[in-house]
């Protein structure tokens, strides 16, 4: 009895299940050329377990060269899709007759589908998908009808790259496998990183699909990760595999991105479940999908306003920080200063940061290290610059702010980041060994090391008052005047006094000669004149010597001769008075006056 009941329940369930089975047939296009492929899809819903392949009608207008089966089960509902790829053979209208599907003893038929085959694309005004549906014959047939759908467009709020990819996919939604590619910006600046995304869309199974990435010229490309996703196109759910790349132009100009290629096998893998289900009666076919090539125009960075701290980074949202591994050290100990720059895009190609020279420190720059990571489809880079600072002497130092600039493409301006200054306390070295050598001049004394050179400290007061010499120089006009007065006085005192004295001697001699009443008085007056005026002592000198002395004083020979005659007459008048021809004292005085006048004039 139990067995009977169980059989009845199973039979009832089978009848119920059979009543839920539906079979539809559709083609991917109803207008095609001789060069096109036609995909006929037979979808069976509600059937599970073992089943036989649908029975195709006679198709004289087509060559069926590929078949594939795909089975999916969602929430207990099983759907099996049989897909046939056909090539048209003749131009004209062709009809795909009813396709029969037998399940649990029941036969289901689809409606015939008409397609038009043209010689070339000009004959096709519009390609539209068509479908037909079928239910169990017992429940009646439904007409196959092409459903024209409006072209879908992507959500305008999507990022440009995703929007572009999605729109390309919508445009090719009548294909089962296709490859699209797009970049985030077709006019990037030099060193600006742009993202290239390549998506392989499919709504049919495939296997063994080697992928060939696009070739590029005049631009650097590196992998930026891969992802998967789905997109509904024309009511069909497509899966896609996405590969992203980072493109960076090093020089301005045109850069080309070649097509990416996927060679895929349709049908099932020989080891697939489906193959095992259906005994491997599936035809495999290798196909190729390619993305369209395109060109980028790399723009040069503006020369105006380029700061000295610009090392080539281009992007938006960079950040910068600086850190010293310690802030208290002894003189001669090393401190590592690390400056980290983070931001979008690729920092590998940027030049290394130049640390400013620090007085009192020896600097040993280390090579910069850059790293990049991909998150949420975006690449971000970190570049770490390190330098080792060795303070030469103790003191409190400030490591000044380090500047680093980048070009922001969104605002088209250069922006400069700078770190916070870092205070460093350096205590005197406690090391007793030979210590460190800063390359300065060798120490002169044992135990003393030259650590480096710096300028001497400030003068904390005003300079002392100028020296006497400066004061003398300041009063130089007064100096000149006083010196001139001094010189005049000395000259006057020196030359004028001589002149006065000689005049006085001459005047005295003249006075005495005018009063002389004897040759002795005349002789004495002349002798005194010679003695005082020319320092010639007549008492101790013979006449010849007197004459020679006169000549030395510049007296002319005629005057010397006249003086000689006078002197001889004076001797005769003094020592042999009464000698004939002897002149009187008055006559001798007159002659003496004349000769003294000549001597006064000629004497040097």
């Amino acid at each position: 009895m139990k067995k009977f009941l169980l059989s009845f329940v199973l039979l009832t369930l089978a009848v119920w299940a059979g009543a839920q089975v539906s079979v539809t047939a559709r083609v991917d296009k109803t207008n095609l050329t001789l060069d096109d492929e036609l995909t006929l899809t037979v979808e069976v819903n509600g059937a599970s377990g073992n089943m036989v392949m649908p029975q195709l009608p006679s198709l004289p207008a087509f060559n069926v060269y590929s078949r594939e089966v795909q089975r999916t089960s969602i929430n207990g509902k099983t759907s099996t899709v049989f897909r046939y790829t056909m090539l048209p053979r003749f131009v004209g209208n062709a009809t795909i007759g009813a396709i029969q599907f037998t399940y649990n003893g029941k036969t289901y038929k689809t409606d015939p589908i008409s397609v038009s085959i043209y010689r070339n694309a000009q004959g096709i005004s519009q390609s539209r998908p068509a479908s037909s549906s079928a239910k169990a014959v017992s429940s009646g047939n439904y007409d196959s009808a092409a459903v024209k759908r409006p072209r879908e467009t992507a959500d305008p709020n999507l990022p440009p790259l995703e929007r572009d990819l999605a729109n390309q996919a919508y445009a090719r939604g009548d294909e089962n496998y296709f490859l699209v590619a797009a970049v985030s910006d077709k006019n990037p600046y030099v060193n600006e990183a742009v993202t290239l995304a390549v998506r392989f869309y499919y709504n049919r199974p495939f296997y063994d699909a080697p992928y060939q990435k696009p070739t590029v010229s005049n631009i650097f490309m590196e992998d930026a990760g891969s992802s998967q996703g789905t997109q509904s196109i024309g009511g069909n759910l497509y899966r896609y595999e996405e590969q992203r790349y980072l493109l960076t132009g090093a020089t301005p100009g045109q850069a080309t991105i070649g097509p990416a290629t996927v060679r895929y096998m349709t049908g099932s893998s020989p080891l697939s479940v489906v193959d095992r289900l259906f005994g491997g009666a599936i035809v495999n076919q290798e196909q190729t999908a390619q993305s369209a090539p395109f060109t980028l125009t790399v723009r040069a960075l503006p020369a105006n306003g380029k700061p000295g701290s610009f090392y080539g980074a281009v992007g938006t949202g960079f950040t910068m920080s600086a850190q010293a591994d310690r802030t208290r050290v002894e003189a001669g100990e090393a401190v590592t200063l690390t400056v980290t720059v983070k931001g979008p895009g690729n920092l590998k190609s940027t030049a290394d940061l130049q640390f400013p020279a620090l007085d009192g420190f020896k600097m040993y720059p280390a090579q910069a290290v850059s790293d990049s990571s991909v998150a949420n489809g975006r690449i971000s880079s970190t570049k770490v610059f390190k330098t080792v600072l060795v303070p030469a002497a103790s003191g409190i130092y400030t490591i000044p702010a380090v500047k680093w600039s980048y070009f922001d493409p969104s605002s088209r301006t250069y922006k400069t980041l700078q770190t916070e200054p870092i205070s460093l306390t350096v205590s005197p070295s406690t090391k007793t060994d030979t210590g460190f050598d800063f390359g300065a001049a060798a120490a002169a004394a044992a135990g003393i090391q030259t650590l480096g050179q710096d300028i001497a400290y400030l003068k904390t007061d005003h300079a002392p008052a100028p020296s006497v010499l400066v004061t003398m120089s300041t009063w130089r006009m007064l100096n000149w005047i006083l010196l001139a007065v001094l010189a005049a006085s000395v000259l006057f005192a020196s030359v004028g006094r001589k002149s006065l004295a000689s005049k006085r001697v001459y005047t005295s001699a003249k006075s005495r000669l005018k009063k002389a009443f004897s040759p002795e008085a005349v002789s004495e007056a002349v002798s005194d004149y010679l003695q005082q005026r020319m320092h010639i002592s007549t008492g101790s000198l013979p006449l010849k010597a007197i004459l020679a002395a006169l000549a030395k004083h510049g007296i002319t020979p005629a005057t010397v001769e006249a003086f000689s005659l006078l002197w001889q007459r004076l001797d005769v008048a003094r020592f042999a008075p009464g000698t004939p021809g002897t002149l009187s004292a008055q006559e001798l005085a007159h002659q003496a006056l004349d000769i003294l006048k000549l001597l006064e004039e000629e004497a040097q």
Partner: protein, 239 residues
Amino acid sequence: MKRILLTVLLLGFAAASWGQTALQQAEGYYREGKFSAALGLYEKELKNTPNDPYVYYNIGNCYFKMGSKGLAAANYYRAFKLAPRDSDIRHNLTLALAAGGERLVPAGVPEVLHKAFFYLSYQEVQGLTFLLLWLFCALGSVWLLKRKFKRVFLTSAVILLLCGGWLYARYTLEQARLAVVAAPVAEVRSGPGANFPASASVPQGHLLTVQDTKDDWYEVIVKSQGLKGWVEKNAVEQI
């Protein structure tokens, strides 16, 4: 009268103490690393004491710490001309010039000789010459009037002559219009205008001799290189 004297004294004391306060404040800024603020105070102080070599020296220190080695060298040079015997000034000037590849003591000249030649400032050499002239005149007077100290007089004449030669040499140097490249780089052009091609670029801290002036341009000779050309006035600092 007493009130006037008291007011004058108080004013003088206030001025002196203000100067001291300003120097102390500037030193405070300098020690804190606020070189720009210290520089501002020293430049204000320079207006009160225009020929103070120490103020020039301190200004040079501020510029040096701010990285302007050319302007630092220019101010050290001004201080050096006023106080050439100050070892700190000489030291800092040597360092600032060395930063620009220049030397205070020309190559081949013994430092001792250089120090002797610049032992006195130009004004001091002038003052010494006057002093010797006075001595010479005094001894000459004695000799003329008394015929005494002839040898001392002649010796003073020789010394005066030597000092006159020293003064002449220093005068020649004083008349040379020295300048220092203050901008990071000064371009030497073949004419006084940006339309003339640049023949050389001279980095900061190099010494120049100004030959001529035309509008905003100096005709200069780069002493260390033997170059001659025109540079923009705002690129150099005349000493």
